[in-house]
């Protein structure tokens, strides 16, 4: 009797202990890509379409091409719930499996991973989020945030406003408001907008939304009504976005003068406000819809075969396509790394070089079946971002439609800020390592 118990106890102990023991070696010729996603928690509304887009594109590559460049793709999702604690736990649990890169998908988790990336030799791809300063490749050789930073976004917003007003000189004396989440993410555009306010003579009004008050913004919008800003830029996330759009509609704010950053442009951010949201605009760095060969392939190989968690009609929505772009960057980085090193099973160090030499040209986009889906993306050793073009999309009540041309950010204004911020970061972290990674010659 007791022996039986002992055996049972030992079995349970071995079973529970197994995951904590040293990991087994990986299969040959495969590349392990962990995806940090959040399909639960308060931000799940934005997290689910992104997660679907990311895994569907990589699964499509597996189904259609058998992987990338002959290497098998092992994709694994780890649920973070947008919680830094769980994100760090995810990172620790995947670290042993030699991931080629990580996608933290949360500013909080990104900040944790930035210092460890160089030590563990696992590059961080934070696509258009995270620390803007990490665009400086000299100080952050292991962190990448293409295709544009929040400062690029804010500069395009000012440019767009100037265009609609009829020139930069018309901005003088105008009021531009920033409705932002009162957290590092939301406060990011402030220094750039302040600099531009000084230069073009417009007045900047700040409307911070505390994280606990995301769904209760009525008093803030009363202030907006009192101040009557001419333009509003919205830097929000999760439940804050639909609330802001609804409140703006309620006070009859002219919706085509409310412009959101790309993370405020989910279909479900605009839809709840009904007809009132018509005209609400949002920056975007990729196209919406399914009229691209690459999305058709995803539908054909993954969604129609029931290998995806996505609802069929949600394929092609804004945030779904963003997930696809994220995975395109992952896949292209791996492909570039394979070209540079000539081996199939690339490591984190190789993929870092791949990310640095990323060159998704028009010709390459055509091969991928994504002409017009994103603007060509290119990075370099010093510039880990590229500061690429974005456009303004407008909600027509049903879906997002393109409302402007692809617009170049004010790189000359953004870049000095980035270099200063990167320097400040390195200085405040005494002993921040100097870049030792050599720079590959660009092809």
């Amino acid at each position: 009797m007791r022996k039986k118990h002992l055996v049972l106890g030992a079995a349970v102990a071995a079973f529970v202990g197994a995951p904590f023991a040293v990991p087994s070696a990986q299969a040959q010729e495969s590349v392990y890509v962990p995806l940090f996603t959040y399909r639960t928690g308060p931000f799940a509304g934005s997290g689910i379409p992104i997660a679907n887009g990311m895994s569907d594109y990589l699964n499509m590559l597996t189904e259609r091409d058998g992987g990338i460049g002959g290497a098998k793709l092992i994709v694994e999702e780890c649920e973070t719930g947008y919680d830094t604690k769980k994100g760090v736990e995810c990172y620790e649990s995947v670290k042993g499996k030699k991931p080629v890169l990580t996608n933290p998908y949360s500013t909080g988790i990104t900040l944790q991973l930035i210092p460890t990336a160089a030590v563990d030799k696992i590059p961080v791809l934070s696509m258009a989020y995270g620390l803007s300063a990490s665009a400086d490749g000299n100080l952050f050789p292991w962190v990448f945030n293409p295709p544009a930073t929040y400062w690029d976004g804010a500069s395009v917003f000012v440019k767009y406003a100037a265009q609609k007003e009829g020139g930069f000189d018309k901005l003088k004396g105008k009021k531009l408001g920033l409705v932002h989440l009162d957290a590092p993410y939301g406060k990011e555009p402030i220094p750039l907008l302040e600099a531009l306010a000084k230069e073009y003579g417009f007045e900047l009004k700040l409307y911070p939304v505390p994280a606990s008050e995301m769904q209760n913004q009525s008093s803030l919008w009363l202030n907006v009504r009192r101040d009557r800003p001419d333009w509003i830029y919205l830097q929000g996330w999760g439940a804050m976005n639909p609330t802001a759009v609804k409140e703006a509609a309620k006070i009859n704010f002219p919706m085509n003068r409310l412009v959101g950053v790309w993370w405020s442009g989910g279909d479900d951010d605009a839809r709840p406000a009904g007809d009132g949201a018509k005209g609400y605009s949002s920056l975007d760095f990729h196209a919406v819809g399914t009229d691209f060969p690459v999305i058709k392939d995803i539908q054909k190989y993954v969604v129609d075969k029931g290998k995806s968690q996505v609802q069929k009609e949600k394929v092609g929505e804004n945030l779904y396509n963003r997930g696809v772009v994220n995975s395109m960057l992952i896949a292209e980085a791996i492909r570039t790394a394979q070209q540079i090193t000539g081996k199939k099973a690339v490591t984190g160090e190789d993929v870092r070089r791949g990310l640095e030499q990323l060159n998704i040209s028009d010709a390459r986009l055509k091969e991928m079946g994504a002409t017009g889906f994103v603007s060509p993306i290119r990075t370099s050793c010093t510039d880990h971002n590229g500061h690429h073009k974005v456009y303004v999309a407008e909600w027509n009540g049903q879906k997002w439609v393109k409302a402007s041309d692809w617009m170049e950010p004010m790189k000359d204004k953004v870049r000095p800020l980035i270099e200063a911020a990167a320097k400040a970061y390195a200085e405040s972290n005494t002993g921040w390592p100097k870049r030792t990674e050599p720079c590959d010659k660009s092809s």
């Binding site: 904590f20 023991a21 830094t84 944790q112 210092p115 957290a183 405040s428 972290n429 005494t430």
Partner: protein, 358 residues
């Protein structure tokens, strides 16, 4: 059978008053310490050390801190995350202003800063009790969270508004920052937690602990027998905040390696309060049980389906974990409303009288 104190005679008062009067308990605690200090560092992988044990110990310490206040002195507080934040930000400021001083000194010193802030916010406790005090401490929580976002001096005017942990060494070995090995960090956390638990257990068995418990059981009676309420309550706030502050500093410096203000939000306060309640109010070992149940159990539950090879999606596993943990908490509280510590007590008593229960 094994767990029986028959034949263990106490011949002096010291032996009789010992923390662990029974030989088996002393052996047990030695075995646990041995496993924690030798077996786990030797055989555990980084995941176990960095994502399971270190956080568990940090939460245990914070839970002990809140337990001193809520469990032993009877003052309900919802500000523990705020006090943890004070510890973390104080440690960050101190270590960036005086980089030459050893970081462990600053981790302990930041506890004193948290204690000072705790005393300040403990002042209302003299006049209000129960739910009203909870609301007053809630104000502390919101005020401190606000400071962490709005006072740029606290995070050295960092653009991202976050604090990042610089590399610091002890005897030439990096113990904080990205280069610190998980095993070093774990051992330091373990040493601090063991030392402070020992301190707490002695404090509770001494004059202060008895004063706190007297206040908890009936403050008017305590006042009548000559306990000064103001000093006693403020001291409880100070010691509790000290523990929370050290836990917060360890959380950022030895576990996260960097943090934004969001980490010390009200949710964190609730998590710690739940750990106290489920572990058992007024019990040190219960603090460890509570932290283990709330922090480690979900991790184990998340691993189970993958180990069994069940093809479940990450999100489904997460939902299942929520359901199971929630159900377990309810079951535990129905079985024993006084928390896991009481369950442990009953188990020990049953063992002592086995096989002839009465």
């Amino acid at each position: 059978m094994l767990y029986r104190e028959a034949g263990q005679f106490k011949t002096n008062y010291t032996a009789d008053m010992a923390v662990f009067p029974i030989l088996q308990d002393r052996i047990g605690i030695a075995v646990i310490l041995g496993i924690a200090a030798i077996i786990i560092p030797l055989f555990g992988n980084d995941f176990l050390l960095q994502a399971v044990m270190t956080p568990f110990l940090v939460f245990s310490l914070a839970t002990i801190g809140l337990n001193l206040l809520t469990g032993y002195t009877g003052l309900l507080s919802l500000g523990s995350a705020g006090f943890m934040g004070v510890g973390a930000y104080a440690c960050y400021k101190l270590s960036t202003i005086f980089p030459g001083v050893n970081i462990i000194v600053w981790i302990i010193a930041s506890g004193f800063v948290a204690a000072a802030v705790g005393v300040l916010f403990g002042l209302p406790s003299l006049r209000i009790k129960g739910f009203y005090l909870a609301v007053a401490t809630l104000a502390a929580q919101f005020f401190l969270s606000w400071c962490f976002i709005r006072v740029p001096w606290l995070f050295n005017y960092n653009v991202s508004g976050a604090i990042e942990v610089p590399t610091r060494t002890l005897f030439g070995v990096p113990i904080t920052g990205p280069n610190a090995a998980p095993v070093t960090r774990y051992l330091i956390v373990l040493a601090i937690v063991v030392a402070m638990t020992w301190l707490a257990s002695n404090l509770l068995r001494g004059r202060f602990g008895r004063m706190w418990m007297a206040v908890r059981d009936m403050d008017i009676a305590a006042e009548l027998i000559g306990i000064k309420l103001l000093q006693t309550k403020l001291l409880a706030f100070a010691v509790s905040s000290f523990y929370c502050g050290v836990a917060g500093a360890m959380m950022v410096f030895l576990w996260y390696g960097g943090a934004e203000a969001e980490v010390f939000s009200i949710n964190q306060s609730f998590t710690i309060l739940f750990m106290v309640i489920i572990g058992g109010l007024g019990s040190l070992i219960g603090s460890f049980f509570g932290a283990a149940l709330i922090y480690i159990l979900p991790i184990i539950l998340r691993i189970v389906p993958a180990e069994l090879g069940m093809p479940l999606h990450a999100a489904t596993v997460e939902h299942l974990t929520f359901i199971i943990v929630g159900a377990l908490i309810i079951i535990f509280l129905i079985v024993e409303p006084h928390g896991l510590a009481r369950l442990w007590q009953i188990g020990k008593q049953k063992l002592r009288v086995w096989p002839f229960p009465y």
